[in-house]
């Protein structure tokens, strides 16, 4: 049985005047010990999809279709009381901004023990010593003393460690990390990623890492999904994705990242245009207006995810599958011309 299986998930938000179609049918699955990356720009629906899975969408958000199965049970059909038992115990989430994600009027220890006592049958004392062990686990010095500190007495990196400690408190099987390093300094980013990677390895946890940072993905994800306008446009094993991007959007993302080995005079290639307006459903490919490869077919027909042809062994099925939703995948010649190719990985 697959640990977490998302199928055709659709989420929309309705305001008085219009409806925003944030997620338009995404599917993925995660197995224990696997790290999955979801990459996309701001507003493409990557965070919303995970909030929907956990059932904590904002009030005006609604799941309009699809399923999200955790160990075979559909989270979207579940009554809230049951879902609450899964949240925090079996599935947990780390949020983007550690500065605002902790309750400012409760001590860190209180916030940690609250989670422990809610989900595990432990008394106050046991919860406190467990909380201390958790802080030590995520690398906070003087864990015992710091339990009685308030969030404002921690630095950003330390707060994110506390958030991770809260999320892993009950040894969840799935951890969703929503831009866990975006608000942090680069050096701290590396530490936090290392911590996450270590947790995945030692606890056999599944990690869904949501980010817009290709460097982060390259560092720790087994498999990566590229998301655009609420859909996955390309999905592949991470090394394959960096070596052989086939969707023009993925290609564009890779080209817009500055590279150390490029000449200083070499210009970055931004993706022109703006992200799609999500208030209407597109008939064709959502990326067409910004795409250099778009043809009439791109405008007329919505491309679906299909296995990439002729891309060697990885074109196959299963967990090594490389899928792309595009009528006109980027040709090999352009990849070579842009300096992207096999054997070169985008360690941004």
């Amino acid at each position: 049985m697959t640990l977490l299986e998302i199928a055709d998930l659709q989420v929309s938000f309705s305001t008085r005047r219009q409806t925003v179609y944030a997620v338009n049918g995404i599917s993925y699955d995660v197995e224990p010990g696997e790290t999955l990356g979801i990459v996309g720009e701001s507003g493409c629906g990557k965070s919303v999809s995970s909030l929907a899975i956990l059932g904590i969408l904002a009030r005006n958000g609604r799941v309009t279709g699809g399923s999200a199965r955790f160990e075979g049970r559909d989270l979207l059909e579940m009554p809230d009381s049951q879902l609450r038992r899964i949240r925090g115990r079996d599935m947990a989430m780390v949020f983007q901004d550690p500065m605002t994600s902790l309750n400012p009027v409760l001590t860190v220890g209180r916030q940690l023990t609250e989670v422990l006592r809610r989900h595990l049958d432990v008394d106050r004392k046991a919860a406190r010593s467990e909380a201390q062990a958790l802080l030590e686990r995520v690398g906070i010095p003087n864990a015992g003393d710091r339990l009685s500190d308030y969030p404002h007495q921690f630095s950003g990196g330390m707060r994110q460690r506390v958030m991770i400690a809260m999320a892993i408190a009950c040894k969840p099987k799935v951890l969703i990390a929503d831009e866990p390093t975006t608000a942090l300094d680069v050096t701290i980013q590396a530490q936090i990623l290392e911590l996450l990677r270590d947790l995945v390895r030692s606890e056999d946890m599944a990690l869904v890492l949501i980010t817009h940072d290709l460097g982060v993905v390259a560092g720790i994800c087994d498999r990566t999904h590229v998301m655009y306008a609420g859909r996955f446009v390309e999905t592949a094993p991470t090394d394959e994705l960096f070596a052989q991007p086939r969707h023009p959007y993925t290609f564009g993302l890779l080209r817009s990242v500055p590279r150390l080995d490029a000449g200083r005079a070499q210009r970055l290639e931004p993706i022109t245009g703006a992200p799609r307006d999500l208030t209407e459903r597109p008939t064709g490919c959502a990326f067409a207006p910004r795409c250099a490869y778009a043809t009439q077919a791109s405008w007329d027909e919505l491309p679906i995810l299909r296995p990439v042809e002729g891309s060697g062994p990885s074109g196959g099925a299963g967990r090594r599958a490389h899928l792309v939703a595009c009528h006109n995948p980027v040709p090999q010649a352009d990849l070579t011309a842009a300096g992207i190719g096999r054997g070169r990985q985008g360690n941004a």
Binding site: I56, E114, D149
Partner: protein, 298 residues
């Protein structure tokens, strides 16, 4: 150790625990708030130890009836009133009444106001609309007029008057709490709390309320002062407590307004008592606002 941690450590040494303590530390640095606390502290002591401080009982006649009662002497510090009662003793005992009025009416206002505001802010939607529109209707009446109307309906007992003044505060507290809860409701730490399976009521009471009450506390202090003035005002208009023996400051003022020319002490001393107590509460309220707000903004 990073700079931020060093700063945090520094903070930790200076102020070991929490927001409330931080606020108290800042409050102590505010001279206005100190003056306010001294004033209110003095009134509280007077109220508690009234029988020890006051030489006579509040209704005790120590002189004869007089149209123009004598002013302050060494024996009667604030002079006598027309019934021959010692004014100093009456004002000392009046501190009990005024503080009681302030505290009880604010408690009434807080109880109903906070419940309604929390309901409206947390549940939103139709509940919010119904609650807040009724609050708007109440706010459409000037507070004092509303109190007059309520006293007319409820009656002129001290309890009813305190309830009436308290009710005029309900919409103020409800609005304030609803507003801050609305601001906090979508914040990241609430989302984070939900993401670990915290149930709704616990989110409201443990996460939302503690983060939203600070401005309400400030407002409550100020409302306490307003309540004292309102009750004094009601008494002045003849809608005060019906028991004539009660040494309510506003009532003393009202009863003697006609003697302004002959026996000015009967007006000045109760007037000062009202002014000083209200001033003290306002100074504390303003100090609290300054002490609490910076933390809210950061």
């Amino acid at each position: 150790m990073s700079i931020a941690e060093a700063q945090a450590a520094e903070l930790a040494v200076e102020q070991p625990s929490g927001l409330l303590k931080d606020a108290l530390v800042r409050l102590r640095r505010n001279p206005g708030a100190i003056l306010g606390m001294v004033l209110i502290g003095a009134f509280v002591l007077l109220a508690i130890f009234a029988p020890l401080v006051a030489p006579y009982g509040p209704a005790e006649r120590v002189g004869g009836l007089a149209t123009n009662p004598p002013g302050p002497t060494s024996e009667f510090w604030f002079g006598l009133d027309d019934q021959g009662r010692d004014l100093f003793s009456r004002i000392v005992y009046g501190a009990r009444l005024s503080l009681l009025i302030g505290v009880v009416s604010v408690a009434v206002g807080l109880t109903f106001g906070m419940s309604l505001g929390a309901l409206a802010g947390y549940f939103g939607g139709r509940i919010d609309t119904v609650v807040m529109r009724s609050m708007d209707i109440m706010l459409a009446f000037p507070g004092f007029l509303l109190a007059i109307g309520l006293v007319t309906v409820l009656g002129r007992g001290l309890g009813q008057i305190m309830i009436a003044v308290g009710i005029t505060n309900v919409p103020v507290f409800a609005r304030l709490l609803r507003g801050t809860i609305l601001g906090q409701r979508e914040s990241d730490y609430i989302l984070a709390a939900r993401s670990v399976g915290t149930p709704g009521p616990r989110i409201l009471f443990r996460h939302l309320l503690p983060n939203s009450v600070a401005p309400v506390i400030v407002q409550a202090t100020l409302a306490c002062a307003t309540a004292i003035i309102d009750v004094a005002g009601l008494s002045f208009l003849g809608l005060g407590p019906s028991d004539p023996g009660l040494p309510e400051w506003g009532r003393i003022l009202a009863d003697n307004a006609g003697r302004l020319n002959q026996s000015i002490h009967l007006v000045i001393f109760p007037g000062f008592a009202i002014v000083l107590s209200v001033l003290g509460l306002n100074l504390i309220g303003d100090g609290l606002r300054e002490a609490i707000d910076p933390k809210l903004r950061s």
